[in-house]
Symmetry: C2
Subunit: 360 residues, 2 copies
């Protein structure tokens, strides 16, 4: 088992990573206050892992409230969030009840936001069951729901008390979602670890064939990066923004196509290629670098071209991004492979040209 800590003073918390962790009550026990537990999951994950988790809790004398939501990014909204509040209130859950989010990024984001808001904050545990949520969204305390006018627009910074990444749950993950998670893994290499990027170039086939030792290593190295960045800049005043490489373009794709058409990781992959292409237009990357990015994304089974929304529409959607300041687009770009920066240096004509060259 790999374990690391997100260092946030009195709010520090551990991340455990290994196959089979859902069967280990001793990892959960120290993080439960009292016996009241609510598990938030969805209709896809519930038949696969809810009974396993419930049995593990039962061995601690706990019968959890089970809250099973519909599946999908399109459900990451007020209505579904309210289903969680309704269930918690109907069961008279107190603010000492622990909420466990069992599922992917949507469940983690929405469960976390519910935990942040219910009675102004209840204990919260992340049990991510997708690669994307294990390497990215379950760590760092960003929680949110979507709004028709923008993704993740309504939310909170709210840290979990524990993250349990059970690598064995990746066995049931659809190929398309495994690929989507790999987009965020590749991201860490691109923004701050060229060695890791090179390691991924060498092991992409093994990762896609779900070698558990390789997956555990990839999740561990990704979480190390995420934990370091979050510890240095919890509220995204600076360095943490680098984690959004490809995300401003990607959010435009997701919003422009309607939530759920493109997976988040797929949109990030195409958006990352746009960011790399724009970096090349600014003279920061070589075309050979851009080709390495494209090749690794393709090897991961990811799209490297965005949908033809038109550059104007992309830019309009990108203006809703949370990183916009005083109307200026600020983008995460690559000074080199393994070295990202936040910059508003790109002229809009260049942004437009980079987008056009990266649409299919």
């Amino acid at each position: 088992m790999h374990t690391l800590t997100v260092e946030l003073a009195e709010r520090s918390y551990p991340i455990h990573i290994a196959p089979g962790l859902l069967h280990h009550p001793e990892l959960l026990r120290p993080h439960l206050r009292g016996r009241s537990v609510a598990v938030v999951t969805n209709e896809t994950v519930a038949p696969l892992y809810l009974e396993t988790l419930s049995r593990t809790l039962a061995s601690l004398g706990i019968t959890p409230l089970q809250i099973v939501l519909p599946d999908g990014e399109a459900c990451k909204n007020w209505q579904t969030l309210n289903q969680i509040f309704d269930a918690l209130l109907e069961a008279r859950c107190e603010r000492g009840t622990t909420l466990i989010a069992l599922g992917g990024g949507v469940i983690g984001d929405m469960g976390g936001f519910a935990a942040a808001c219910y009675q102004r904050g209840m204990p919260f545990i992340q049990v991510p069951t997708t690669l994307l949520s294990q390497v990215d969204s379950s760590v760092g305390g960003k929680t949110a729901i979507n709004h028709p006018l923008g993704k993740n627009m309504i939310g909170a910074f709210y840290q979990p008390g524990l993250v349990l990444a059970d690598i064995a749950t990746l066995r049931t993950l659809p190929d398309r979602e495994l690929s989507a998670g790999l987009a965020e893994v590749i991201k860490y290499g691109l923004i701050r670890d060229l060695d890791f990027f090179t390691w991924l170039e060498g092991h992409m086939q093994g990762l896609r064939s779900r070698d558990e030792a390789l997956l555990e290593e990839a999740v561990y190295r990704s979480c190390q990066h995420k934990a370091q960045v979050v510890a240095a800049d919890e509220r995204e005043q600076g360095e943490r923004a680098l984690l959004n490489l490809g995300h401003t373009f990607g959010h435009a794709i997701e919003t422009g196509m309607g939530y759920g058409e493109w997976l988040h990781g797929e949109a990030v992959a195409a958006g990352t290629v746009m960011a790399a292409q724009l970096s090349a237009r600014l003279g920061w990357l070589q075309q050979a670098d851009v080709q390495r990015v494209e090749a690794l994304m393709r090897a991961a089974g990811l799209p490297i071209r965005g949908p033809r929304l038109g550059a104007e529409r992309y830019i309009e959607l990108m203006r809703h991004d949370k990183k916009v300041q005083e109307g200026r687009l600020r983008l995460v770009l690559l000074r080199a492979l393994g070295h990202a920066v936040v910059s508003d240096a790109a002229p809009e004509a260049e942004i437009r040209a980079a987008i056009e060259s990266c649409c299919q």
Copy 2:
């Protein structure tokens, strides 16, 4: 002008108290980041003070986005909160936009919760225009909306960067709401300042006839208490719970009657008498003490008896309170006038008897 500070390390903020502060741009200027400002208010307050505040902002070169909501506790819900998000997103407000809540407790609670959640947190200023919000809800960072199953069940701890309490706005406050605010003023005397309680006994007529010097003094002393308690216990792990004297009974009244029937302060007044009566049943207060509480509440124009919901219904509703732990009712009671404690010592039969004796 009275000024005091809520001491919360890097999140400390000033409270300014005096008549006419809405006309003072220099108090706002240091707390605005950039020129983007949204003012959240309601249909009652807007015709009275929105133009004044907008003129003051105009003198700083700022044209605020105006978000005018319907009035009343019944509107403190998801739907109205979403109106704020819709307006902010349609106007493309960024996370650096400052949200100013101009109004009473409902506007402050809902505006503050919107500020806490919009893009995971935007700068926030409280401009309370009711006595209740000036002495209580605008200070301390509790924000929330109601849920059909309980008051203030969904919310966040989110501190403002500034509180401007313009005493002159109390001139337009309906008598009934002035009285409701006095319930919270009396509360501070009861829980931690017998001198202040005695001062209030001597000045209640002057306060009700809106002597501005007396009102400023009452707001200042109340905010001093609130600021001290919040600085010592921001997240209500201990002492802060004492501020809820009368509130658990009061919430039962508000929920049981439907939000908006009883004003919050009215419910707190009747609830405080119940808490005093229960404290007497436990041998902590004399009946003469209870009579002093009743007399001062009556002098403030407040109800001292609750509606006849039946003791069982009261207790059922009280079990939804956020202070409940492992199913046990924890109440704020009075060891003496000026000395409150949180206690689960009262047997349910005594709670029932105290409620019955305090219903009309």
